[in-house]
Symmetry: C2
Subunit: 152 residues, 2 copies
DNA sequence: AGTGTTACGTTGGGCAAGCCAACGTTGGAG
DNA sequence: CTCCAACGTTGGCTTGCCCAACGTAACACT
């Protein structure tokens, strides 16, 4: 009978913090994600999506686009290269740079992650209707526009 | 002239993921927070706010309210106890439980964190007006209502 | 020319958060 | 009395974010 006891609310001071709410939404999103794929697929997705949309990029540019540190980009790109999802070559015009390019296997992998991410997203936002999802998206975009995408 | 070059946008696939947006907002919030206090103050704030609003709680109840694992609660409570911000005693009615209570120093500490959190919050949401902040808050609440606050 | 500055990629490490597994203790239900 | 569930604790793993240092390469300056 009474399983209606599950109404434990977080304290009001916490509920009032947008930063805490965002963090909560983020980790719940991570949980949904983990149901469909390993968590590392999230960084893979970010990098591959950038390469697919913008073409060949240096690792530093990748970091700037995605808000990631250079060292973290280095690790992700190495993982993706090991998995055969992208190509890395020295830039002939500037030999300091690594030109990173997505390849065919990478595109397939990207589409696969996209499908799983869509499923996770649907679960995360299940309590919102279409209009509300759009509003939430627009508001988050606006918050992020107020801050440089840079790492640190 | 053109310093307008700072318009590096993240890829559309990423911008479309609410989970990624929330994560981004969360870490930017963490950066704002770090300008005013050590990051650990965030967990302190959560625990103290719960104790202040709901009175004496067991650590397990704290975890359920806040969406934290028991082991993490254990560490936070120990830290707060060491700092003299709360009292921990065995529950006489159920000696498995630790009854945790906020004390006077804890309340002062809580108010101090609250002030800093408000400053960080203002910076985080600087690009939204009052109406928009309210809408964003309401939408995030609605998303979270669709998911149990429990840890995992 | 040579010099200094800057950007790049790499490595290593620290820290916070979330999660899982195990243990001993205690309470309650059968 | 026995079995099961909840509690608190410890230890460990992973991701994400961040800082510092190194060697290489491009660039500016004089």
């Amino acid at each position: 009978m009474g399983d209606a006891n599950d109404d434990l609310q977080p304290p009001a001071r916490l509920r009032a913090l947008t930063s805490w709410q965002a963090s909560r939404v983020s980790t719940i999103g991570a949980r949904m994600t983990a149901k469909y794929m390993p968590l590392t697929a999230r960084s893979d997705f970010a990098v591959l999506a950038a390469l697919e949309e913008y073409g060949a990029l240096s690792q530093a540019d990748l970091g700037r686009r995605l808000g990631l540190d250079r060292n973290d980009v280095s690790g992700i790109v190495t993982r993706l290269q090991t998995g055969g999802h992208l190509d890395r070559q020295a830039d002939p015009d500037d030999r300091r740079r690594n030109l990173v390019t997505i390849n065919q296997a990478g595109r397939r992998y990207l589409e696969q992650i996209q499908r799983n991410a869509d499923k996770a997203q649907a679960e995360l936002l299940s309590s919102l209707d279409e209009d509300e999802r759009g509003q939430l998206h627009a508001l988050l975009v606006k918050v992020l526009e107020g801050h440089k995408p840079e790492p640190a």
